[in-house]
Amino acid sequence: MPDDLKTGIGASVKRKEDFRFLTGKGRYTDDINRPNQVYAYMLRSNVARGSLKLDISKAKSATGVEEIIIGKDMEVGSIPCGWQVDSKDGTPMREPAHPPIAIDDVKYVGEIIAVVIADTLDNAKSASELIDVDINPVKPVLDLKDALSDKNGFVHKSLDSNICYDWELGDSKAVDEGLSKADHITEINIRNNRLIPNAIETRCALGDYDAANDHYTLYTTSQNPHVIRLLMGAFVLSIPEHKLTVISPDVGGGFGSKIFHYAEEAIVTWVSNKIKKPVKWTSDRTEAFISDAHGRDHVTNVKLGLDKNGKFLALKVDTIANLGAYLSTFASSVPTYLYGTLMAGPYSTPAIHCNVRSVFTNTVPVDAVRGAGRPEATYVLERVVDTAARELGLNQDDIRKMNFIPPSAFPYQTPVALQYDSGQYEKTFDIALKMSKFSTFGERKEQSKKNGKLRGIGFSTYLEACGLAPSAVAGALGARAGLYETAELRVHPTGTVSVFTGSHSHGQGHETTFSQLVSDKLGIDINQVDVVHGDTSKIPFGMGTYGSRSQIVGGEAIYRATDKIIEKGKKIAAHILETDEGNIEFSDGNFKVKGTNQFKSFGEIALAAYVPHNFPHDKLEPGLDEKCFFDPPNFTYPAGCVICEVEIDPGTGELEITNLTAVDDLGKIVNPMIVEGQIQGGLAHGIGQALLENASYDDDGQLLSASFMDYAMPRADNFPHFDVSAEEICKTNTNSLGAKGCGELGTIGCPPAVINAVVDALSAVGVQDISMPATSEKIWRAINEAKNN
């Protein structure tokens, strides 16, 4: 069969969803309009902190205004946080109330202070200008170290501290012992820069209350509509699930920012009942900058103790993490269970301790952005390892190889809770070294030098925990939800299949990869399979898409549902073919009697299940639908290596990435084309963090980088062609296929490789460190400061 006609597992099948996206027929939330729809404009605070007074009397009578809502009007529950993290002394995290609309005071620039609903968006905006806003500004809490004390007071008046929790993981005593025995301790301070996710589709929410049936529908740009239904329905608006449908149609990218339940969703849903009209809100880009949850924003002190040969003895990490003004949905888990647990990385460090104090500040809430905690952990590790090698005069490749967990050590229990099931880290590293032509780097460096340029190479060898998550483990660690996934497969009478998945695709290509699974398993044409997602009224339940979990958890649920279909089909076939069930085998889409040429096709069995004239009614019910809730037994641990080579013009600080190589061990790969696309996108996002992107606040708490003119989004000409290799080295045994996940690898592995390359290049002129983003200006300044010293 020609390659382009292959559609099974492992084939680079062209995407089924592309036709509608290529022809402008995608259906995104803002493309949906309802009869009699009105528009909401969110009036937001332009002050970071202060007491709030509003006079809406003039605005109420403005043209087209239907309703104006202020904080105290909306008597609903607090927007909840989905993960309880306890401090090391056992006390639960401080969890202040989070009203959808600010009530007495404002806590960040961008917080909603009033909602104007009018017949047109223009009228709503015009009316909002008639609202008399009186905010008495107070100096905001912005600096993370200041937030630890009462220096500038507390972000929440209801709390006696800005510290949400003071958490630890690992054995502090063992680490102190390890450090005391070390021949060398490398200590560095790191800032992980604050990012703004910037999916190109901004958020949008359309609430539609149907009075005839007392039923609410919320159309929203979400990565997990069932989670929104649960959080908003049960905790904020007290709407029971059977009275609330949440639909997330085509979603234009998420990157984490569309996981969370946002105030605007609750507001439009609630107001649609109050005024009995559909209410739509669409974020503009500036609003997105000041209302979508931000990411990263850590300051960290790290100490790595090594023996004289470079073997790691102990790692001590002390981090302050910014949560912003309120606890967003998964905010508490990102700098703890998605961060501290990754501090072993691919290394056999025997003792590790990680302490994290997460603090409230007068900034936009901070939560997961692509990678979520794991990029921050990888950055800490790969920067300190690189620095240690430099200090000890070791090669950057040798120090890593010397400390990798050897293949013989699996399953490997890390000192920070996780147990890795498999891994061959040296193998991916060696492939990457070869692909990147590392052996001839010296020649290229020499050539650059002749041209007056500085050339550097940087490595990052990393590991990710994917496939959130075993529910029992997550629950024991404070998660307030299960993290399984669901699938329902409806086999239709003619043998075609509709797959209803709790995963959500917002670019990942599930309609293709999930169809590949079913087509491959049931032996039917890929075009006889359709995938349905993003609608709580159609899909049994779902935890959605994040944490590189869709294939591993959602795909496995689909795979197991097909097993159930085959099992039932065998019973029907045995009845029709008048043999024992044990004599039936299923292959190539046929139920065959072993050792004979008798068989029934999958379509014939489907028809028999729905037209059950000749059917084992004494043993089975008619029909051929099956469902599966799959709860994974462990995380999966894909791992890999990024090698980055840069050339810097010392006169201008201008930097060019000349080569970027990424090699990942992903276990079984369902669609290599899609997987490579995911890795490439992640790499670009990672380079964005390393070289370009930075959310910057001024001393008054104004976000200075609140547009695409001020926040440097990566463009096509920022990058070279990426050399990516997705490998199938070790399969995991936590799912049938052995797949490990790929969505976040680039953002996790890439930033330290880039910065290590920059530092390598600049070390020739005496620069020892540079912070992200390493802009040309920053590089130029570092070179000149080093010269002057």
């Binding site: 062209k14 996206f21 290529l22 803002d30 234009g252 917002h506 996108g681």
Partner: protein, 156 residues
């Protein structure tokens, strides 16, 4: 409120509009051509790119009234029924899209890049896409797609 008359995807349209209507809103809200997307408010992202009298323009940055008497082509107007334009086909072949949101703008810009420079190089494609932002793909496959389309469309 003024009347405007223009051709959109080959069809003549006369419409009474308010004078502050952006071309992007006119296409999306009045004509229901929702393939043109709006991803920013500073004309940086390029998701709203359309062709206006043969040039790629950002429809969020001009008023509908400025298109009076013009010919506008949107993403909905470039394929021949079910037969995709070579640029659309190349994006499909090379996995040049993920979430699909920036895609209409990328394709409309890509077509004009190739029409204006049939033998376009990789670095010219990368520079030419300066006004179009994609968060999903890392641009690798977008660049490949446009390069492949340039061959099919008659260059090289």
């Amino acid at each position: 409120m003024p009347d405007i008359t223009l051709k959109v995807n080959g069809k003549s349209i006369s419409q009474n509009i308010s004078s502050n209507t952006l071309l992007s809103s006119f296409l999306r809200d009045t004509l229901n051509l929702t393939g043109t997307h709006v991803g920013c408010d500073t004309s940086q992202c390029g998701a709203c790119s359309v062709h206006l009298d043969g040039k790629a323009v950002k429809s969020c940055s001009i008023l509908a009234i400025q298109a009076d008497g013009c010919e506008v082509t949107t993403i909905e107007g470039i394929s021949d029924g079910d037969k995709l334009h070579p640029m659309q086909e190349a994006f499909r072949n090379n996995h040049g899209l993920q979430c699909g949101y920036c895609t209409p703008g990328m394709i409309m810009s890509g077509i004009k890049l190739v029409e204006e420079n049939p033998n376009i190089s990789e670095s010219e494609i990368r520079k030419g896409l300066e006004g179009n932002i994609c968060r999903c793909t890392g641009y690798n496959n977008i660049v490949k797609s446009i390069a492949e389309a340039s061959v099919v469309m008659g260059g090289k």
